[in-house]
Subunit: 342 residues, 4 copies
């Protein structure tokens, strides 16, 4: 930790701050400069709670060197985490590139079964489908909720597909964890800390979507909640961030993927459907995710997107999804042979 | 609703779209232009679900004229809502400017009681204090939770102050609603729709903070969830938005307050502590809130901010809060006599 | 300057970096931590160019303590700068609150003269009016350019009003500086460094608008260009920043004003017209600027906003401007007597 | 154009607005709705200046259907523009993927010649190098300016490489256009309209970088300035946008590339160096640009990035650049054979 003092800080201020640091069980090292003094703090074994120092009039800025997400960081856990999803399917590290697909929302048995049969045949191991739908307006379709879970369970048993669904409330976690193979935390719930704590208690893998305006540090903080709870199987999912640009639904932050991979051992996947909000942009950005080194993609597909109850404009027709799958596979293979190992 | 077609849309496309609109029970009106055609849709009694039209290749853009927050809008409810908080205290419309104050977090009986006694004496009717604390890192102080609620209840009974606290999980709503006078939904939970639905079932007033990157429309969508549930007592709270600027913790969006007042009948208050994150900026922005027409402010104050377990740098010392209170009262009074009735 | 090393940095890396620092004529101080080492750099007399260190594989982050805007900062120049504009009119420090008003663009002699006569009578000392208009589309009105300057000069001579206009190109600076009393650098040109350098050579006061997505540090960097050139008379103007929120044209960053006043000695004014883009929001935000401590406001007014060639929706009718002026004066006076001296 | 009226608009308001539209030579079509009326405007041959309507109290919103960038749009010019750069090198449409490389700034004859010889040998046709450097602080290296141009000219004559450099001031355009093959407009000057107008008068191709917070519409507006001036050879360059995320220098908006290609016929390239600001992210994002369909990339490389006078942390060593070039070529080839023709 580094403490930068104001230009006007006196020798007395410096002494007082050093005393506080010593009281905290740490060691202060003054770094006098031409215009202002800084104080380095050493001796900490991890992140330091700076509350005894904040609010001090002589301090201009407190800079943390140790980050508040120990378990997520490669500092402590340098090797890639590979998450097992069931049926021998894995994601992360050197595991094969994972494609997750399915409708935004579970709408009916027919819609879900059609999709499942299609995906099964296409060789997609994990189907997505929302039972609980967080929607901006209460007047929009809210999902089939428990009924949706049952349909997922039914289809999963019948086809042998793995299934992932979003959980939106701590009190549903137990039930949802019984019915599906992988839990998803949506962007709007990335900082729903009670929910994170609850999924941290399960032993189901968790796809943790990045919040609409979450920094990497906040995203990691949320993953830390799950890891701290004892669940090591977190899969980060970049799904676009909110910016001033309205030409796309969100701004796909593809560059963050290789950066995140350097910082954390957890797998990172990409959701091109929400990141762009436009059907035509799903394929190119899914391919981009492959080359920047994502461990997988999660794509919305629907038997009839024009009749979808949510996210129709960003859902692929099956034939479009087939094209995507073929190109993703082809590119993944090419990347492994010819491109950087980033 | 207006549907703008692509330049390349054919007469056949136009006919097909008109047919879909007719099927939806509405009436299409073509508006041919020099470069592209638009189709106006009339006959709707409220917001139209556009899913049958989205994903249509001939459509460039769908523009909604009716907004998806009927109950929040002044269209249906033109007159100001005045929310009663208990003890005859009210907020909104022509009710006196409301000052809410207290610590970020409930830390101890001593800290809370000191604050309560101070506020009571200062004439502040409603005390804030977080029992459940949503924190970016699991390694930070998480609040006293149920223990915090009990302290709030105790202090409230002893001093007669009204109390507001944040509720973070649907399953806590019932308990929290019993223990405090006003519920708060935090910025990170603004789109925790199950939580909104749950507070919509209570009869306690709800302070709904704007999300970190929530548009006005999304904020209203969240308020609509509470109103739809049957709870009419929503108080909107602007608390700063996330932007590229890091010199302040958030960017205080003060101009939104008079705009929001034109669009909705609900009361709107301002939180200068979170909006700025810096103690020195709390007073000037609180005063700004008065002149732009906010119905109140919610301010963090603490007996010893330098020892606060959270938000110390933005919490006021009691003597600073006294200054703020005096100036806010003085300015509120001046505004009523001399400034615009915006 | 503080250099934070990677977790993996070796003792050899530390030694190599210390050597580079010594070569730069500075002194390294190692600050070993539990997880990583930092190196403090001392002995610098101002901002340090860190290029010899950047790109070093062992370095995680370089943190500058001294800021790259020496002349703008209060560190070197602690007392308020008061800028004289002519006719005894001043802005900054304890000078009276300055109101600048006028049309977005100079459109005709009649339009300008009507406005000037009105402002003169109202007691506004400084009129704005754009001769060169930076417009997003080349198909929009581009301003009368040199013809506009002549009208400004004529009206100014006839009425005795001071005049400010935007300069958009280095080659115009000499001419514009002859024709008007105050130069303006628009938001889109805040980082047009050749233009800044050129206005730095004049002896005319310069209103420097904040860029659409400029941080405070970048804004100060631009002001530094003008000060370095020998022109000390820079007036900073906050005019709203670009954010995800589209309900207002920009987001008025009012909280930045008291913050900026702590950091720099230069005067800071506010432009409520561009900051909000909506006529109804001009008055409340102008008043907010008074209470947060701005040294003045710059407001668009037009004899017939509905016929204005640019910015009509945010321009005030004369009667609306009169109301604004009366309330601003009343509030300014009240603030001086009753509110904080922030 | 569509005009949405307020809920409270009267029949008289509607009549008055219709009259204004008729006066503008256009035809109004009323679209009455349940809650509010809209008026469609037809008969326009292109973008309509809405100034006579703005500021009207009865109007809630004016929605433009025709966009203000006719020449940039595919509406008028459906086929891809292929820009010739000299020496038979082309960019856009089906032309081979273009790699531009070189140092951020021209620093010395030795540095530039070393780079040129390296690039020539590597088969890169076009070298970048900044003579005029727009820097946030006046205390940073400002470029060799005219001296830099002479070095570029010398090296270009000696090696036969094409050369691109940034032009920052209208008065330099003539000189720069004589000395180099391609002009560049930097992000900070994207809305320096006098500069755009000046380069519009030359017959040199122009790389137009997207502004830090420019929407696609504003970017197109700037390109329109150049096209309107008679210069058809504009190459758009995405270089990252400013967002709340500070982990990367900017946020690479890769998804915008396929979207922009649908909207305009102009070539679009990507600058991975500025978009990310981190050496390690240049390669993966350059590859991503290939798969999303960019027509080229512009990459910073330097003989000794650790001694670069600007942008060292994002400049590649020659061996890193060779790896990038090999992988880009390999992927480009693969894409042509196997991936979508987006």
């Amino acid at each position: 930790m580094l403490i930068v003092l104001h230009h006007s800080a006196s020798a007395k201020d410096v002494a007082a701050i050093k005393k506080i640091i010593t009281k905290m069980g740490l060691k202060p090292v003054a770094i006098p400069g031409a215009e202002r003094t800084a104080i380095g703090v050493i001796g900490n074994q991890g992140w330091v709670d700076d509350s005894p120092l904040r609010g001090n009039k002589a301090i201009q800025e407190i800079i943390h060197v140790t980050k508040p997400y120990k378990l997520v960081s490669r500092d402590i856990h340098p090797r890639d985490t590979v998450v097992g999803l069931g049926n021998g399917v894995k994601v992360g590290g050197k595991a094969p590139f994972l494609v997750i697909a399915g409708p935004c929302a579970v709408e009916s048995r027919d819609q879900l079964m059609k999709t499942a049969v299609f995906l099964k045949k296409a060789g997609v191991p994990l189907m997505r489908g929302g039972a609980y739908k967080p929607r901006t307006s209460p007047h929009s379709f809210q999902g089939l909720r428990e009924g949706g879970l049952e349909l997922l369970d039914e289809v999963r048993k019948e086809t042998g597909l793995l299934v992932v669904t979003e959980v939106v409330s701590p009190e549903h976690v137990e039930l949802v964890a019984e019915m599906v193979d992988v839990l998803q935390i949506g962007a709007r719930n990335m900082q729903n800390f009670d929910l994170l704590t609850e999924v941290g208690k399960t032993r189901k893998p968790v796809i943790l979507k990045r919040g609409l305006s979450a920094t990497v540090e906040e995203w990691f903080g949320s993953a830390e909640y799950i890891l701290v709870g004892g669940n090591p199987d977190v899969i980060l999912c970049e799904r676009g961030i909110r910016t001033f640009e309205t030409a796309t639904r969100n701004t796909a932050d593809l560059a963050i993927i290789p950066l995140v991979k350097k910082m954390t051992h957890l797998p990172v996947i990409f959701d091109p459907s929400h990141a762009t909000g436009k059907r035509d942009l799903v394929l190119p950005t899914a391919l981009a995710a492959v080359v920047v080194g994502a461990h997988g993609v999660m794509v919305e597909t629907h038997p009839a997107p024009e009749h979808a109850l949510s996210d129709g404009p960003q859902s692929l027709h099956f034939r479009e999804f087939e094209k995507l799958l073929a190109q993703v596979r082809s590119l993944t293979d090419f990347r492994k042979r010819k491109l950087m190992d980033a």
